[in-house]
């Protein structure tokens, strides 16, 4: 029986103090998160009662709390409803081709190891078409944060069945109910070697904020699955009501089990959802392992690559480059 050190933050206790969740400098006229958003693109295209906006607020709050310099954060996303997130966030952000968010992010991390690479993408993008990239990034323990927003279908293209659609759920391509076995995504990434795995719903904003913050400060492949309501396609086809009804369902049917075995975390159609932080362990990342192996083979000849800019000298960034 493995013992884990449980902290108060694992139970969301820290944020009971409202002063802990401080997102910036809100005034009576100015929303505190507007500094982190491209307001010229607002209002966003996400439907009313969609949970994706809530995921963005959690991400922004986590960035603010983690005190990572903003110019070091890169947001990458793929295609789909969730793929729009990179376009709305005012960071260095990449909206990549379908399923290829992780290869882009891997390239960014390898080219400049000082960056904090965050991915926000959907289940169809990361687990389906980008499934191979996901398992290999987890296997290599690439130092990146992956936020996978799971709404159980391909929502943007009209609600086709995805590898996360639970058995028995209706989708455009499964008019008689889905019969394929869906992925248990935390188990998938855990078995491939991810070193931080968590799952929350869009309703668990405080816990999600803590989790994203922990994942960003964690060295290694961090994966957070966020269960999000899709009112227009998934809920409508399955007659589940609006996104608010799904939020109430999450409220009643999520069971927090920190460090539960990911094997038991599969999602059945409209049944209890196990949420929590499942895995947190320290293992050498891809770049650590590469440096260690090169040093072993080449000895003193090996010069570790620290990125395009020498941290000791002028950073190479000029004032005009700084994002406002």
């Amino acid at each position: 029986m493995q013992e884990f050190e449980l902290r108060a933050s694992d139970f969301g206790l820290v944020l009971m103090n409202p002063n802990q969740l401080i997102v910036g400098r809100g005034t009576a006229e100015h929303h505190p998160m507007e500094d982190f958003l491209r307001m010229d693109r607002m209002p966003h295209i996400w439907c009313s009662t969609c949970g994706l906006g809530t995921c963005l607020t959690a991400f922004i709050a986590a960035v603010e709390e983690s005190t990572i310099p903003r110019e070091d954060i890169v947001v990458v996303s793929g295609i789909g409803c969730t793929g729009r997130a990179a376009g709305y966030l005012k960071f260095d952000s990449f909206h990549t081709t379908h399923g290829r968010a992780i290869p882009y992010a891997t390239g960014l991390k390898v080219a400049n190891p000082r960056l904090k690479v965050c991915l926000i993408s959907g289940d169809g993008d990361l687990v389906s078409i980008g499934g191979n990239h996901l398992i290999h990034a987890a296997r290599r323990n690439m130092d990146m944060t992956v936020i996978c927003v799971n709404n159980f279908n391909y929502a943007m293209t009209g609600g086709q069945a995805a590898p996360s659609t639970p058995q028995g759920a209706f989708a455009t391509t499964t008019p008689y109910g889905a019969f394929e076995r869906p992925f248990n995504i935390p188990f998938l990434v855990d078995s491939c070697g991810a070193t931080y795995v968590a799952r929350w719903t869009a309703l668990h904003v405080r816990q999600l904020t803590i989790s994203i913050k922990e994942a960003m400060l964690h060295r290694g492949f961090s994966f957070i699955e966020v269960i999000s309501p899709c009112p227009t396609v998934y809920a409508r086809r399955n007659r589940l009501g609006s996104g608010l009804d799904l939020m109430k369902f999450y409220h009643d049917h999520s069971i927090t089990k920190n460090f539960a075995s990911t094997r038991e975390c599969d999602i059945k159609f409209q049944q209890d959802i196990i949420v929590g932080k499942f895995v947190q362990k320290d293992e050498p990342t891809y770049l650590d392992a590469m440096d260690a192996q090169m040093k072993k083979t080449l000895g003193a000849k090996f010069v570790p690559y620290v990125g395009p800019m020498d941290p000791g000298a002028d950073s190479g960034r000029t004032k005009s480059d700084a994002r406002t």
Binding site: P18, P43, M247
Partner: protein, 92 residues
Amino acid sequence: MKYWRKPLDAERKRAPHGNVHVIFERCKGCGFCIAYCPRQVLEVSDEFNRKGYHPPVVAHPEQCVNCRLCEALCPEFAIWNTLDEQEVEATK
């Protein structure tokens, strides 16, 4: 505020008070803030905004304890809290 028992430090501590700000035209009427406000500060307005939704109205502003859950839950970035100015003065 109703307590199920009197807190031991009730004389020394008191709940903060916040102000709720709503951008009427940005709201898409999802109702998360109204449903999950722990103090029932918000209610659905009778008016429509330009998009055709019913945004929340601050029905009981004196009840707000600045927990900022509405701000965290709002998918449209249309609602937020600030600590009441008198409160800020008192803590100085």
